[in-house]
Each structure stands twice: as structure tokens, then as C-alpha cells.
Assembly symmetry: C2
Homo-oligomer: 329 residues x 2
């Protein structure tokens, strides 16, 4: 197995992605290699810092970089030798089984759609965000930002994507699906969710019904579906609250001299634990990490990528989505 | 001044509203009276618990109760002798200057619109949620749930309502307004926010531009505008995360024996501090409290109501909104 990692993506590239890749090779079990995609000299300098030499690590040159504020679709066309485009292409050419990047979300999304294509019946993929919860498992919320204006049937598609992903990757037989809404009653909601509720009821998914903002943290659902606007706001808000709380507690602990186990608290709220957001609905494995992600999150993203490839996630998705497309569901 | 408090509203009525009213009379400064609206016998029993007798507290009988799951608009029509309808009517008849309830949000909203009417140019009021932030002031987010499907010009109206409310009540000269969105760049957003951005730029408000989910907690804005669907999800999510964090910290402190100042941490995240959500855009002062609100929040809602009445908030809103309606803004 071979995982491509964008060495040029993120606020602290190439240092962070390179270190994350090195940690993955060091710490993760499994028969896999890593391809670091980007400027060879810059990557080598970083590898030198880690005094790392391994026959399981290869550099794949890419001379261009798509910046965070470059227009996503246009820069994917204009920069064919960028680390994002090259990295995604490695899957198409069979040289890699997955791609991980902490670069521009829009560009990763555009490159994945252009190069790999979408799965049967999927017009546009969704970003799945794994949210830490009070339960012993995260909740997969999708869409977290790829589709800011959604029609009701898109939310049903998100539900199917989330269902298959969680069933295959987390080995939960019948993942329960919630529709993010402003009240638990079926008559609550906006135009989008009222109709999506009706459509979700008609599926054979394990549909729990409406869930509210307060149900996210409890881990009541395996999968929460929402439009990409709401999902993006919730995701960014969550991360900021978690970060702020950690700051607040540690400041307080320092002031009072309290010997509080900050780590155990913060771990619960730590998005880096889950390593990144899988892009669901494309014909391949792409995982999007935060721009300011630490090496740990890159390592964990490699773990998720390995699991996705080993479990044959894309085949599962393709087969089941084809079935749904044929029955018109 | 006379503040009407719905004695029958909320999960622990009449105990909590009655205690909150008693605390308000005890602890808040100012020349005001409270009218407790509801079942006189039940209210008297509660007052007896507090051994309270005051000539500043009166009981206004209302024999019906609108339950949390009653259909809001229909029950406002069907239950004219409910504590919510009677409480709102006290403003219309000049017997009270404000109304506070922890009952059904939908019913409070419907009764306020039917009985008091809306201000010039406002077709439907917005719920303003005061969110605790890392800064030394809360952020007013609106709409928090009254308008789940919004057209762009409604967001502009929310911005004006929020601007006037914060300027008058918090004495901030030129409150800065943010548009909740999925990115800070002007070309980011869904159909709603893209157009709302353009419209907000044309106003003479202190418009900061787009803000993201992560900007809520920082207190970067005095006012954040969004559709009522997104606002409701964010509000409920925020409250649940705050509650969960408090639980997590206190459990951890108990286990490790850490002497952490839980109170100071939780206060930062404590929505009860702000006493409730003002309903903005109606011709009166209505403040909506949480169903599971503690007495403290009712007391603080009385404080906010007093401030709203003293500052002539409704007159300010009426005058400025009339001006805007005339200039077609």
C-alpha cells in the first residue's frame, strides 16, 4: 500500500507534513509506504532534520504550490505540477492508494473531482468531519463545507455516504443517522430539512429523525447530515470552542496551582485524534487535514487512509451507490 | 416600572420563575414591580416557600398553560387565558412594560406578534441570543431561531436590529457587525450570504464582513447575523458544549483532587449570565428564557428587561427603523 502525503500543504509545510509522515512510518503498523509530494529539496532538508532514511519513503517531485487563497478550481487547472494535483494523480495512475493534504480544501476538492471523478449518482462529494463526542465514538458530520447550497435529495445522499463509511470503517452494523435541525419534532425545520426528513424516512437507513445542536456533543448519532453551510459553521465553531476551553482550563490550573489532568480533558475535544476529514463520494481516498494541523494529525490521517484502503471503502461505496442509483433511491 | 414574569413557563414552573422573581426584587436595584402571571394558587404556594410578602409583587391570574409541545400559533388563539397570552397583553394594556417567559418559544413569539405587533418594516421579529465570548462582552447573534428560511434583506434587517439593540443597551457607539459565513473572503458563501454581504456593504453600519464559526467565541463582533436555522443550531450546540465541558472538568477535578476554580471557568460559558434572549422587532419588550433555566437566569432577564425599558429601547428601534423604511434601506 502506498499513501501520498502533500508535503507542501498547510500553514507549516513542509515541516509538519514531513514530520507527520515520518511519525506514521515509525509508529503505525502495516505494510505501507509513503510518497511525499512536493519540492524535493525542501522535503530533503526536512527529512535531514529528522535524520531519516527509509526505503519505505519516497519523494515525488511537484514544482508548484497552490496557496490557501488561490482560487481553487482555477489554480488546479493552472498549476498541473502542484503538489495537490500531482498527489491526487498518483491514485489515478495507480502509484498511490490514497492522498492526504493539509492544503487548500477547495483545491483538494476540485482536484479530486477533476482527476478521480465521483462515484455513481454522486454529483459532488461531501466533506465528512469526525467530531469528538461525550460517547466512546466520534460522530461523522457531513457535509462540512463542500456543498453550501443543498437540495433535499443531497442530504439523503450524504446519509448513504455516511452510513457506508461508518459501517465499513468503524464496523458498526447499522449506523444511526440524524438530520441536523432546529427541533426534534418532524414538523420542525426549514424548507430543506422538512423535505429531507420525508425523503430519509423512505430509505431503509437507520434514520433516528431530527437532532438538534445539543445532540452533537452527546454522540447520540453515528452520522449527522446537514447542508455544507451549517456543517462548516458548526465544525469551525466546535474546534474554536475546544481550543478556547483548553486555554481557559490550563490558565486557570496555572493560576490556582491545580494539578488538573488537562490532557485527558483536551483529548476528548481533540480533532487531531481523527486525523482529518475524508472526502466522501469521489472515486478514491482523499483526506483533508486542517491548515494548522500538527504532525500527529497527519500521522492519524495516514492511519485513517490505511484503514480506508484495507477495508475496500471505495469498492463498498461504488457497489452500494450503484445499487441505489439503479433502484432510484 | 412593572415587569411581567410568566410563572407557568419552563420545565420547573412555577418554582423557578417565582424564585427568580423574588430574587430579582431582593437583589436588583431600581424602582420596579413584578407581576407574576399564572395560576394564583400555585404561585402563592411557591411564594409561601420563600416566605415572601412584598407590595412590589402582584399576581395576575391566568388559568391556562401553553405546553412546550402545543402547536404555537394555534394554542395562542385557543388559550386566551394562558400565562403567555395574558403576560404579553399586560404590555398592550399598559399594565406592564416588559414580559419574561421560559415557556414555549414558538408561543411567546406568536403571542408577541399577534398582540404587540411588529415595528416599522419588520415582517417578523428575530431572536437575539447573547453568547459568552473570550472577550469582555458577549456577542449578540441573531436570528437564533425565529426565521428558519431567510431572504438576504432579512439578514440586513437583523443587522439593523442588532446594531440598535447593542448601541442602546450596551452603550457601544458603533457596534461592529459580522455576517456568519464559511470563509472570510467576500466570494465565499451560499446564495443567501453572498447577496447579504453585498447588501450589508451598502448600509452605513459598521460592517466587518464575513466571520466564520471560529470567530464567534473570540468576541470579534458585537453582532453576528445569520439565518435562524444556523443560529439555532449554533446556540444549542454552544450551550451543550459549555455544559459538557463543565461536567468534564468537574469530574476530572474530583478524580485528581485538583482544586480548580470551576466557577470562574464555567462563568465564562454561562448563558444564564445574560438572562435570556430578547425578541427584537416587536413593539414591546419580550425576553425568552430557556425551558430549563435556573432562577438566576430569570433574575438576570428581569435586569435586562429593566435596562431595555429604561433605555427606551423600543422607541429607539421604532424611530430608527421608520427612518430606514422611509429611505428604503
Amino acid at each position: 500500500m502506498r499513501i501520498a502525503v502533500d508535503a507542501m500543504g498547510g500553514d507549516h509545510a513542509p515541516a509538519v507534513p514531513v514530520q507527520g509522515a515520518v511519525e506514521a512510518l515509525d509508529q503505525l503498523e502495516g505494510d505501507f509506504e509513503i510518497a511525499l509530494v512536493g519540492d524535493p529539496d525542501a522535503i530533503r532538508r526536512e527529512l535531514h532534520v529528522h535524520r531519516y532514511g527509509s526505503d519505505r519513503l519516497e519523494i515525488v517531485p511537484a514544482r508548484e504550490v497552490i496557496a490557501m487563497d488561490d482560487p481553487p478550481a482555477a489554480s488546479v487547472r493552472r498549476k498541473p505540477d502542484s503538489s495537490i494535483v500531482r498527489g491526487v494523480q498518483l491514485q489515478e495512475s495507480g502509484e498511490a492508494d490514497a492522498f492526504i493534504s493539509a492544503g487548500s480544501t477547495g483545491a483538494i476538492l476540485a482536484a479530486s473531482i477533476f482527476v478521480l471523478g465521483t462515484l455513481p449518482g454522486v454529483s459532488r462529494p461531501a466533506i465528512g468531519a469526525l467530531l469528538p463526542t461525550a460517547a466512546d465514538h466520534p460522530t461523522l458530520m457531513l457535509d462540512a463545507g463542500a456543498n453550501v447550497d443543498c437540495k433535499p435529495h443531497r442530504l439523503v445522499q450524504f446519509a448513504h455516504l455516511g452510513h457506508i463509511y461508518v459501517r465499513v470503517l468503524e464496523a458498526r452494523e447499522s449506523p444511526c443517522i440524524g438530520l441536523l435541525n432546529i427541533g426534534s419534532e418532524r414538523e420542525k425545520g426549514n424548507e430543506l430539512t422538512l423535505e429531507a426528513f420525508r425523503l430519509l424516512e423512505e430509505t431503509d437507513l437507520n434514520f433516528l429523525g431530527n437532532v438538534e445542536g445539543r445532540d452533537i456533543i452527546t454522540g447520540k448519532c453515528d452520522v449527522i447530515v446537514c447542508d455544507g453551510f451549517t456543517g462548516n459553521v458548526v465544525l469551525k465553531f466546535y474546534e474554536s470552542v475546544a481550543g478556547y476551553m483548553a486555554q481557559l482550563i490550563s490558565r486557570n490550573a496555572a493560576e490556582t496551582g491545580a494539578n488538573i489532568d488537562l490532557q485527558s480533558i483536551c483529548r476528548v475535544l481533540d480533532y487531531t485524534e481523527f486525523g482529518g476529514a475524508p472526502l466522501l463520494g469521489i472515486n478514491g481516498v482523499t483526506i483533508i487535514c486542517h491548515g494548522d494541523t500538527p504532525p500527529r494529525a497527519i500521522r492519524n490521517a495516514v492511519r485513517v487512509a490505511l484503514k480506508s484502503v484495507e477495508s475496500g471503502m471505495v469498492n463498498h461505496l461504488t457497489r452500494e451507490l450503484s445499487g441505489l442509483a439503479q433502484t432510484g433511491a
